[in-house]
Symmetry: C2
């Protein structure tokens, strides 16, 4: 069934006052790969208005593109082709509906930024553990739609693991009311987790009940220089053995990343300049175990085993924030340098050292490039980004970009890894999914999409092309 472009007739069917002017902020995306088109922008104020918008679009056969903070990196929230869609923004649904510190539960609307959700938890004496570089802009709806990851997944899991229940509007305009505050509820199919990570192709999440967590009694943060990724993994195992359940972050940073920071963001202080590889480690500790003592014991053992060559322990919250700031500025430095190609990959932990050797050798054979590999080593999730050699321009690599991407992804898939660890499929990786996805899984996905969205109005072209 062909979709119609969003038009005046549709506009007259929408709830009063939901239309917004079509502005650039609804059409762009961070890497500038896609430019969206918007026939109409609707910003409903309630789940009932969202349902009315969806019903009107279904009746008019107009596509809906859900739009959160617009920080997604795979083109999931822009529709550059096809009939002009209606862009659905939940920016006016940004309230906290309920905060229950005694249950460690918070109910938030999907238009809140992730940072605002964190703030609400903090105001209740708790924390919301999900943390991302883009948290000041990213909205909860997008965070859930993409099943976002970030720096605390090692301990807390992705967005999916922190969500207890959702309210959503399904493609037929019905309202799924399932904002439960329960840790356990085995009453039928897991629709919550199906909508989470579906990138807006199966419905619109309008609110969610979220797990909060107690603020840990102590926090230990350190930057540690390691000889290489294999030693970093051995250090991770050592830390998990000593502090099982308390290792909340384990981020890998390459020497190239430090070079980039020094080059384009020289104001960022580097505690271990020149380290070929380093790790940002964070432990959340119970009462009775002093952070310094915990770190020093670990460090002593790790140095004796040759896993760590140098280290800087945060002696204050300010110093810990400084270490995290270094980590969080890596993407910004990358943007300023300008990548040839970037890859959000995950691998089984034991495959990582060999993958890095083999991928480095393969890319060296394809030309003169720099590789900045960093990311969430504890989750096996690396941001493996390829840059021009010093003094060369991105454009010099235009003819090789596609080949580089394909070669890296093929090498990841051959090692039982994923070509999209945390960013999702969006529109950027639909061909990768069609090529490398398990055929039975793809067929089941298509059957579910057809069953829940028979008109194909929900974010068409995303996930399943």
């Amino acid at each position: 069934m062909p979709l119609n472009p969003a038009d005046d007739r549709l506009a007259s069917q929408l709830p009063e006052g939901v239309l917004r002017p079509v502005e650039d902020r609804y059409l762009d995306e961070p890497r500038g790969r896609y430019l969206g088109q918007g026939g109409l922008v609707a910003a409903p104020r309630s789940v009932e208005e969202v349902a009315a918008v969806v019903r009107a679009c279904a009746a008019a056969r107009v596509a809906i593109v859900p739009r959160g903070g617009g920080t997604g990196l795979v083109g999931g929230s822009v529709m550059p082709e096809g009939p002009a869609p209606l862009i659905l923004s939940l920016e006016r649904m940004a309230r906290i509906r309920d905060v229950r510190p005694d249950e460690d539960v918070l109910v938030a609307e999907a238009g809140m930024t992730l940072a605002a959700v964190q703030d609400a938890a903090r105001a209740a004496g708790r924390m919301f553990p999900l943390a991302l570089a883009s948290q000041g802009t990213a909205q909860l709806g997008g965070v859930l739609g993409a099943n976002a990851g970030g720096t605390a997944v090692l301990r807390w899991g992705n967005a999916r693991a922190l969500c207890l229940g959702i309210e959503a509007v399904l493609p037929d305009g019905s309202i799924l009311r399932d904002l439960k505050r329960l840790r356990k509820d085995n009453t039928g199919y897991d629709l919550r987790d199906l909508l989470i990570g579906a990138e807006g192709t199966l419905g619109i999440i309008t609110a969610a009940s979220l797990r909060m967590a107690p603020v840990p009694a102590g926090l230990a943060t350190a930057m540690l220089a390691v000889p290489g990724p294999a030693e970093a993994l051995a250090l991770l195992a050592l830390a998990q053995g000593r502090f099982a359940g308390c290792v909340t972050a384990f981020e890998l940073i390459s020497g190239v990343g430090l070079d980039f920071l020094a080059e384009v963001l020289p104001a960022i202080r580097q505690p271990l300049p020149g380290a070929p590889w380093s790790v940002l480690l964070e432990l959340s500790l119970p009462q009775g175990l002093a952070p310094d003592a915990a770190l020093e014991g670990l460090l002593e053992e790790a140095m004796a085993a040759g896993l760590v060559t140098d280290g800087a322990l945060a002696r204050s919250g300010a110093q810990a924030a400084e270490f995290w700031s270094l980590r969080e500025h890596l993407p910004e430095a990358n943007r300023r340098i300008g990548s040839v190609s970037s890859h959000d990959i995950s691998l089984p932990l034991s495959e990582i050292p060999r993958f890095l050797d083999d991928a480095g050798a393969m890319l060296a054979a394809m030309g003169d490039m720099r590789i900045n590999c960093f990311g969430h080593l504890g989750d096996g999730n690396l941001h493996y980004n390829v840059f021009p050699a010093r003094g060369r321009r991105r454009e010099d690599y235009d003819d090789r970009r596609a080949a580089i991407q394909e070669a890296v992804h093929q090498m990841v898939v051959d090692r039982a890894g994923s070509f999209s660890a945390e960013h999702g499929v969006g529109r950027l990786k639909t061909a990768d999914l069609a090529r490398w996805g398990d055929p039975a899984r793809l067929a089941a996905m298509r059957a579910i999409k057809a069953a829940l969205d028979p008109l194909g109005i929900m974010n068409p072209g995303a996930v399943l092309a």
Copy 2:
């Protein structure tokens, strides 16, 4: 489309040697509520043979009832009505396929018992955290199919949270090969979590890659007498505040439960006999924090606040095992006493004390009964079981059983709780789901069922009647 009974023609279409004699162990269930019927029993040896069985059943329009260890409590694995089905047992698919201590991952076939999976993890120097009273018999396939819970959910989540990937046969006989060993993989819809908890109605899980975890450096176990459920919840909050991430179990035990043990299992030693309510607390502690010191600090603060009136701290592994044995024997004592009605419910934590007051008053008005309420308080999951008054027989309550069940479930639902926290829907609670489930959620479940299993051959009558 009507289903045919399993018959000789179907038998001739199955892979050679998969048929087993139809025995009682394929037809019964622990509470004796249902008696299954089996036209044929098939026990395939490989996923390919499972696929062949499913294809043959699809061609013959014969229903398939998947059968694990048969420990489910809601009739999910017995089909008492309709044309005789084929019973599919994975008892011959019980191998460990892969153990990766360096990745904390284990790949196991669905016919393994949960205890055997735990043993395999232990042999690799790790642990598989899921723990249930029936773990010696329950099979992994059933554990995943039911999204089983148990005593370690507070820290580790349900079965779903411990599964990284699955291999499964879908209703059309296609094989979903998605045994990933990855912590992060955002490449499309979450079919894994959809099949987990679907109780065999959307496909047959044949193997799974599972998360292992490091063995904690220290374990602290205590039985603590508390004045009541409200104080138990305050104690939980206190423990979480001191030891966030380290509280691995928090089980509530009522005085009635202790009475039952004394009555029918007097050999079970009771460290705190006569306590009106008690809590079994377990902390998994990092190196550097002595279990005794941790518990004593907590206890001191809890006693000062009036949350704990007495306590017994396990001074050895044997003593901890003794505390756990008491907890694990509660269901056995209940069976010997013989319940009028049992309820596997969950509630928002803050609702629990009032619910217990109100439900107790309501039942007192319905007759003379004893209530044994115990369970996973940390998850808000209570086994709220109703028994005859002393000296009365179960049969004396036959006329009130349905009314009691309905009244308890209605009270749970009115307080935003669940009428099935961890046991699932099976055949026992299909009417509850149809009555209390969110209509949009039910409609979406039916659409998904019809899309993936258009012939309706997968465990018909379970979950969705």
